[in-house]
């Protein structure tokens, strides 16, 4: 059993890993806000880059948009059976 199996295959360890993941996400969002509003280190090229937690929000929206729009295009149009060209 390698170290990755120990994390993923043992349910207790996996729960801890999940918890760490969520804590990291919260910390990232908070620090991103703090960098601009507490330490005044914001120097974005556009006004929206200095909005609270821009990266966090934009990353999340991008991810959802990409999945939903791509799957929609794929289902309606682009995805074909594997023998499509045969």
């Amino acid at each position: 059993m390698n170290i990755f199996e120990k994390i993923l295959e043992i349910p207790d360890n996996f729960k801890i890993a999940k918890k760490i993941f969520y804590i990291c996400l919260i910390l990232i969002a908070l620090i991103e806000i703090a960098v601009v509003y507490l330490f005044h280190l914001g120097h974005g090229h556009f006004w929206f880059e200095n909005l609270p937690a821009f990266g966090t929000t934009y990353g999340f929206i991008s991810c959802i948009l990409i999945i939903v729009v791509s799957k929609f295009l794929g289902k309606k149009w682009l995805m074909k059976k594997e023998d499509y060209y045969d």
Binding site: N2, I3, F4, E5, L8, F21, C24, L25, I28, A29, I31, E32, V35, V36, F39, L41, G42, H43, G44, H45, F46, E49, A53, F54, G55, T56, T57, Y58, G59, F60, S62, C63, I64, L65, I66, I67, V68, V69, S70, K71, L73, G74, W77, L78, M79, K80, K81, E82, Y84, Y85
Partner: protein
């Protein structure tokens, strides 16, 4: 007198000697060849070398400056990594093709005029085709032919552009095309370059051919064709507004297809298109910072994309499976491969401390500095997509996910070593960005590690991961293929064959044949019939009639031709009397 050794010609000539070596000696020779080329590149100093007069034109094989040196370093480094990865392969065709391929990419890099550029451009296309064909399957044969046809088309556009440019300006020097913007030569050469850079809608050859190449051949292919195209774009088309939009669209385009893709290496191929989009956009923005960004991103990209293809290739090599629907749980038996792949995944996703972070952000920041809001937003969105697929989806379904039950082992040592070298370089560039920045064509005035940049990047990546796990069910790969613009020539050729077999053949047999029968065959027969009737009735009748008449006449004459003089005399006297009577009476 040789005052300058061309590293590309060294590789091409050296490639032809590969079959002479055997066993361990061959492996040493294979690694020595690109290593020697790298040393030659490192020892080179800027200047113009290898000028040859040919048919009244000045050909320049060696234009050495900061830009060509940067690309020559990464091309030869990737040549070494690629050949180490392929050392276990016992197929000289692949080794020869890959070394000629690397050599011709170097030829393009150092080309100082358009003729030399064209020659190496064609060399690249042909040698790369052999890396596809070397898999020796029906799919790779067909795919290789499509690859070759697209690149021959690109070569023809380039040649046409060169000839028009030459007749317009009288010069074949390979310099910026911007003074000639708007001319036919400008657009033909641009078209040729963006076909090789896989810019949609001309980019479908890339995800078509790369997954059909051999495991080791694909690693070479990821590095050279698109990035040498980026190099020539930086040379000839800096500041072409059109390229900003093409690049931004490209970046998103590759991401959309990657959602749908089930073949691991094809997913990665779509992310080449996405990543080259950043470089193309950088060329379009055209500021010093943007061009630095394009060049440095090409450098970083070659290493991490090679690493990713090596990782996916190692899984393919060991399991024989390429579809995500058939893989899963491989991390249990291939943990080292998984970790090395993830280093490539973090690099392409621009995770801080990995190479993509210091190179990609230069292009995005250049878009910001020139206040181009939509390219900026599109490129940032594509960053989220890059992590979503290359850093999350592909490794999740390939290495983790639902256990497919496949139990295998780590790939051969040479493959792991090659991946290890690439990984180290990815991390080294990420931690020490100045080691790359000092070689960029323009002075660098850019600091990637600012608090806001690091935190917003982590925010984008972290919350992309959150979105991924939330919508995991949506992303389950499906056993499908995705329609791309290769549809036009794949289905197009089918339509052509159908046209030939069905309507045209039917038209020929049913209609043209009928018409032929109606207007030619039938009248001819009819006329022949009349002629025959005429022949039998008239011609033969005349002849026969004459014959019959002669016979009848002979029968009648026979009665009076008795042969007795007395009778003849009587007839003669009688005749004379009749004439006399007639004369007297009338």
């Amino acid at each position: 007198m040789i005052d300058w050794l061309h590293p590309g010609i060294l590789l091409i000539a050296g490639a032809l000697l590969i079959p002479l070596f055997k066993g361990r000696l061959k492996q040493i020779y294979l690694v020595a060849l690109p290593s020697l080329a790298l040393i030659v590149c490192i020892l080179m100093s800027p200047g113009t070398y290898g000028a040859v007069k040919f048919l009244g034109y000045n050909l320049t094989f060696g234009r050495v400056d900061r830009l060509s040196l940067l690309f020559s370093y990464v091309f030869t480094i990737m040549g070494i990594i690629g050949i180490v990865y392929a050392l276990h392969v016992k197929d000289d065709v692949q080794h020869i093709a890959s070394m000629i391929y690397v050599g011709s990419a170097l030829g393009v890099t150092f080309a100082g005029d358009l003729f030399v550029l064209f020659i190496f451009w064609e060399f690249m296309a042909f040698s790369a085709t052999f890396l596809v064909w070397a898999k020796r399957s029906r799919e790779s044969l067909e795919s290789g032919f499509r690859y070759l046809l697209v690149h021959i088309f690109s070569g023809v556009c380039l040649l046409g552009g060169i000839i028009i440019h030459l007749s317009n300006t009288g010069s074949i020097a390979f310099t910026s095309m911007m003074p000639f913007e708007g001319g036919i030569a400008f657009y033909l050469i641009l078209l040729s370059f963006i076909i090789n850079a896989a810019v949609p809608p001309f980019g479908a050859w890339l995800p078509d051919a790369y997954p059909e190449a051999t495991v080791t051949g694909a690693v070479f292919m990821t590095a050279f064709t698109t990035k040498s195209a980026v190099y020539v774009l930086i040379r000839a088309f800096p500041g072409t507004e059109l390229l900003i939009w093409l690049g931004a669209i490209m970046a998103v385009y590759g991401v959309v297809y990657a959602v749908l893709e089930n073949d691991g290496r094809r997913l990665l191929a779509y992310h080449i298109i996405s990543q080259v989009g950043y470089m193309v956009a950088g060329v379009g923005i055209g500021t010093e910072m943007a061009l630095n960004g394009s060049a440095s991103h090409a450098f970083a990209h070659i290493l991490y994309k090679g690493l990713l293809f090596m990782g996916a290739g190692a899984v393919l090599e060991m399991t024989g499976k390429r579809k995500l629907t058939e893989l899963g749980g491989i991390y249990k038996t291939m943990p080292v491969t998984m970790v090395l792949y993830m280093i490539g995944g973090f690099s392409i996703s621009a995770v801080p401390l990995f190479s993509g972070f210091v190179s990609k952000s230069m292009v995005v920041s250049a878009a910001g500095e020139s206040h181009r809001i939509f390219p900026f937003l599109m490129l940032t969105l594509a960053s989220a997509g890059t992590f979503l697929h290359t850093g999350l989806k592909l490794p999740y379904y390939m290495f983790f996910g639902k256990d497919s039950g496949i139990r295998t082992k780590e790939p051969p040592l040479n493959m792991l070593i090659a991946m290890g070298i690439a990984s180290l370089l990815c991390i080294f560039i990420g931690i020490f960005p100045n080691s790359l920045y000092t070689y960029l064509p323009y002075p660098v005035n850019y600091a990637p590690y600012t608090a806001q940049h690091v935190m917003s990047t982590l925010g984008i990546l972290g919350f992309t991961a959150l979105g991924f796990f939330m919508l995991l069910k949506q992303l389950d790969p499906e056993p499908t293929i995705s329609m791309d613009t290769d549809w036009f020539y794949r289905k197009g050729s089918r339509v052509f064959m159908w046209l030939a077999n069905k309507p045209i053949a039917t038209l020929e047999y049913r209609f043209v044949g009928e018409i032929y029968e109606f207007i030619i065959q039938k009248p001819v027969l009819k006329i022949a019939h009349y002629l025959r009737v005429f022949d039998t009735e008239a011609v033969d009748g005349t002849v026969n009639g004459i014959g019959k008449f002669t016979v009848l006449w002979s029968k009648a004459m026979r009665l009076i031709q008795s042969g007795q003089i007395q009778q003849y005399a009587v007839f003669m006297v009688f005749g004379v009397l009749v004439i006399l009577a007639l004369v007297l009476l009338l």
